[in-house]
């Protein structure tokens, strides 16, 4: 039951990890994980709505 792990997935923006369970040459299960979190949604709480674009354009 080999498990394939590809981390990092390149040529994308952001950090992604893919894991795949292989049985008999077929993928039987797979998981994807974003491996970075900064909490921009927490950072913009209670800020002036007029400037939130500047934060969210940097996600």
């Amino acid at each position: 039951m080999p498990k394939i792990v590809i981390d990092p997935i390149t040529r994308i923006e952001g950090h992604l990890r893919i894991e795949a369970q292989v049985e008999g040459g077929k993928v039987t299960d797979a998981w994807s994980s974003g491996t970075m979190w900064r909490g921009i949604e927490i950072i913009v709480k209670n800020r002036d709505p007029r400037e939130v674009w500047a934060f969210l354009s940097r996600i």
Binding site: I6, I9, R11, H15, R38, G39, R47
Partner: protein, 373 residues
């Protein structure tokens, strides 16, 4: 890849000698060097080998990568293939997973102390560094390994320099900049949101030409890029001095390109070479496009520079602060009397300078003039 000389590689890609010298001239200008240094830069680049570079993306948005991909002088293809030897960059490299990690680890192992690390993004320290992992390693461990063994580390963008947007209040993941996370590393900070790619290239060219990093300020920023205030190089500065302000979006002042100070411009507290090198192939920059500067290159600008659209308090030198309130308004109302009003303002300023002690603004200007000499 890094065995080829830069010029040889450039000529193989059809870059003419004339284009190469133009690039050297542009780099001399960015570095604030006189044109007599152009042959020295050209000579150095002709002789030097391309440095191997590892570009790390940590708690980032890839905005600095986007900025780099839009390089025009030289193009990104020229930079990646010719000026440097980019051995690892997640967003643009072909390899994935283990093969990608191998490229990075090989450079760290085989070129210890000889490669340049470029870091984009902050380093989350909270909860054991779980908020950014690559290939099962935390950003902190990766930075320690890669930056700790590099000849020099360029912390590009405000996140890598000081934590940036990821460290804005309440800093949910405990983000810090590279120097704070890896104090032993040799770090050059190139803050900005994003960094301007010309500052990255100029720093590397300086290193190749002189064998040393450019002169840095106390916060490890190169003086060539961060030694001047936006306000002092701003093309709208005369409107600030004359008391001509945009007071409402879409008003007459906005249409005429007047000063954005009243709309929240942080130019008087911002240090960056935006007004001189500009963006998008040198076509424009935020203030030219009609938006106030929000001091993106300042440490924690998101919290300490206040709301983007709120005016900085008490910036000295504004036209109306030299008792020119009425005159400033007069200029706004009576166009055509500009020359006379200008003379009056000059008169008021002159008498102020003669009668009292110089204000902080004048002192700062004098200091700047001294620094230039």
């Amino acid at each position: 890849m890094h065995e080829d000389g830069i010029v040889k590689a450039l000529s193989q890609r059809g870059v003419s000698r004339r284009d190469f010298l133009k690039f050297c001239t542009a780099m001399a200008a960015t570095l604030a060097l006189p044109s007599t240094f152009v042959p020295k830069i050209a000579e150095a680049l002709e002789k030097k080998m391309k440095p191997a570079v590892i570009w790390l993306e940590l708690s980032d948005c890839a905005g600095d990568t986007e900025s780099m991909l839009r390089a025009t002088k030289p193009t990104i293809a020229d930079i990646v293939l010719d000026v440097i030897s980019l051995e690892y960059h997640e967003t643009i490299m072909a390899a994935s997973g283990k093969a990608a990690e191998k490229s990075k680890n090989d450079v760290v192992k085989n070129l210890r102390g000889k490669y340049i690390a470029i870091v984009e993004g902050a380093i989350p320290m909270k909860d054991g560094g779980i908020y950014c992992t690559i290939s099962g390693h935390s950003a902190l461990d990766i930075a320690r390994e890669v930056c700790g063994n590099a000849m020099a580390t360029l912390a590009v963008g405000s996140c890598a320099a000081w934590g940036g947007i990821a460290s804005a209040d309440p800093n949910p993941t405990g983000c810090v900049g590279v120097k704070e996370a890896v104090p032993g590393a040799t770090v050059v900070n190139l803050p900005g949101c994003p960094v301007n790619v010309e500052n990255i290239t100029a720093t590397i060219v300086h290193f190749l030409t002189f064998g040393s990093l450019p002169a840095l300020d106390a916060r490890l920023r190169p003086l060539f890029g961060y030694g001047k205030r936006i306000h002092d190089n701003c093309e709208r500065r005369m409107h600030f001095d004359a008391g001509q302000f945009v007071r409402k979006w879409g008003d007459e002042g906005a249409r005429l390109g007047w000063c954005l100070y009243e709309m929240g411009c942080k130019g008087p507290e911002a240090y960056y070479n935006c007004p001189t090198i500009r963006w998008n192939a040198g076509t424009s920059w935020p203030v030219q496009a009609g938006h106030p500067c929000f001091a993106c290159a300042a440490d924690n600008n998101w919290d300490v520079m206040g709301p983007i659209y709120s005016r900085l308090p008490n910036v000295p030198g504004a036209g109306y602060q030299v008792k020119a309130d009425q005159i400033g308004l007069g200029i706004a109302a009576v166009t055509g009397a500009g020359v006379a009003a200008h003379a009056i303002i000059r008169g008021i300023k002159g008498s102020k300078e003669n009668s009292g002690k110089p204000g902080p603004e004048e002192e700062r200007r004098k200091q700047d003039a001294k620094d230039r000499d």
